[in-house]
Symmetry: C2
Subunit: 375 residues, 2 copies
């Protein structure tokens, strides 16, 4: 992973290559049979597509099959899923999956418009509503329906900022309190600045291989126990209940079955907290709390690194950072570090099973990965 | 397939849904396990990403995993390849693959800039060179190196226009002569207007399933005998020889091996003739002619529908049309129609084995499909 920063001044290629080379060096793999690139906004912001061939060339790996995979903010997670299927097809044995996003260096209206590419342009984005606005509607409805206060929800970013203090690659390494969240500038009522992830540049990469091949390279491979993707309607207005992401539930259900585990077996969790309310909803949609009661886990300290369900242990989207198309891969890479006992000061002792949830658009695409340490 | 037109005034969704519904109706498949969408320019031109969830919603199929796959002008072919691997993974049984591009309704500089997203933005596109310009360099070098005249190369668009006369969905249904090509307006010396494919809107779709499943739906399924992708350097200046596309050779070599066929076994061929010179080069890179002698096949009439190697039988990119990210899927769909004996007036009698070559960028990504009628 590269550190996540705003104003890096670095190119897409530069960011991607740093992460990819780290992953290749770390894995010990000399050969790469294909390259999958997750990204959401390069066409709009950098006027650059064809990231597959671009990155293969930058890595001196041209010749291999390359794929850019896009699923809005879940692009990183969806790219991992596509790569897993490529491995299972038998066509490829060693696959490099990387994801990159460069969001800084543009005006706020530009980035805001870019993010709205995840919603229906003609019917919704054209109205002028922003993604913060859509999430504010969800937060308002959630607070009303379940009688939950903003104060309770604000525990989520507080948790993330605390965890990020120990992550040298995090974008925001600054402790915050609940009052800081509630007093930060209003962005879209009720969401305030510290409810929202920021704008950042970053890239992450992993190397995937079948178990028998991976064992040649490392004594501590991490198993992909499940990799699933589900979709939902592209637009929020098309949903009967906006306080749950059906795609999250569906993708998680299938993942639990594939991995043969239940929510109680998860030792470390990474959820897509682009906005504080999404972090809380994820705890519920993934089966860790009843609907409307997610914040109780936070209040009981269960989501802390020394709790029963350590969550967003490197700082999550809020504090580690959210370079949108890359975030799903940061999550998977962080889980892998946890399960290899290489998470440094962020380590959850004895973590064996991890789950990552990556969300694209307003819950319209969700990728779930369950990883298992196989030492 | 939708008809290809400029100025359709139709949305991406509208185009995609027409093609997808045709494909689903034609296949008889009620269930769809996943949706793959090939597209190159929607982020740049329509400010719309997340085409996976967008199209799933438009089809009333939300819930299933969705993927947007991008590989520049080869996006359609690359999407088919990714879907084939998904089937082989065993995760999915019935996959809808569609591809769509809407290029009309924008200024020529806008579309030209969008197409340059397939090259390296920072190092090449920033110089102001266009894709016609890059292909003109190739044409000039090819003509010089192999002593081939423009007149010989111009046989390619003449062939395509002749074939398109019989294709009701073709964009340009107008017979042209070699002299028309040579006298058409100069675009980038030596390439003239009739050497170049046009700007158009279109979508195509197919349904893929394992053989045993496909046989439940049709008595005449078409087998994907090989599906390969290869890459090359993102930029033309990085190549030792610009008159051959190494990725085309590599992808084709692997495809012939996988399918267990040789060039002489191909009954019908679809090549990526975005510019006349590329059509000629494809005949060589795919193994049908020695380097520098591709035009001889044209002169001998071998590429005509009644020749030994019927090529671009529905009009190719030049005359059927080239909605960039969708063209690779038009090719595959056209081959399928040929092999099912459903190609109407474009039919090549007795065609059993077909090959499609889809090129992204300046030969930086190439997808090859070999299909076989299994009646």
């Amino acid at each position: 992973m590269t550190p996540i920063t705003a104003g890096s001044g670095r190119s897409l290629t530069d960011l991607f290559v740093e992460a990819a080379k780290q992953a290749l060096d770390d894995s010990g793999a000399h050969r790469v049979d294909s390259i999958y690139v997750g990204n959401m906004m390069s066409g709009f912001l950098q006027n650059q597509e064809h990231l597959g061939a671009l990155m293969a060339t930058a890595l001196g790996r041209e010749g291999v099959p390359t794929y850019k995979v896009e699923g809005a903010c879940a692009s990183g997670g969806v790219a991992v899923n596509a790569a897993v299927k490529a491995l299972l097809s038998g066509f490829e044995e060693i696959v490099l999956v990387g994801a990159v996003e460069k969001m800084s260096g543009y005006t706020t209206p530009e980035v805001t418009a870019g993010l709205m590419m995840a919603e229906d342009r003609l019917k919704v984005a054209s109205t002028g509503v922003t993604f913060v606005g859509l999430n504010a509607m969800i937060a308002r409805e959630y607070m009303h329906r379940y009688r939950v206060t903003h104060e309770s929800i604000a525990q989520f970013p507080v948790l993330c900022h605390r965890n990020a203090l120990d992550n040298p690659k995090a974008q925001f390494r600054k402790k915050i309190k609940i009052q800081d969240v509630l007093q930060s500038p209003l962005v879209a009522d009720p969401l305030r600045l510290l409810d929202c992830s920021g704008i950042g540049d970053g890239a992450a990469a992993i190397v995937l291989a079948p178990k028998n091949v991976a064992k040649k390279f490392t004594d501590s491979p991490v198993e992909v126990a499940a990799s699933t993707v589900a979709s939902d309607t592209i637009s929020l207005y098309q949903r009967p209940n906006i306080t749950t992401f059906e795609a999250s539930r569906q993708a998680a259900d299938r993942a639990y079955k594939l991995a043969g585990v239940k929510p109680k077996d998860i030792d470390v969790l990474e959820v897509h907290d682009a906005f504080s309310i999404l972090g809380v909803m994820a705890l519920e949609d993934l089966g860790f709390a009843q609907k409307g009661s997610g914040t109780q886990l936070l209040g009981d300290g269960e989501c802390s690194r020394d709790g029963r369900l350590p969550t967003n242990t490197f700082g999550g989207l809020k504090a580690r950072g959210h370079p949108v198309g890359a975030s799903g891969l940061y999550q998977v890479a962080e889980l892998a570090m946890q399960l290899k006992n290489e998470a440094g000061k962020c380590q959850v002792p004895g973590a064996r099973v991890g789950l990552a949830q990556s969300v694209g658009g307003i819950g319209s695409t969700v990728a779930i990965h369950i990883l298992r340490g196989i030492n």
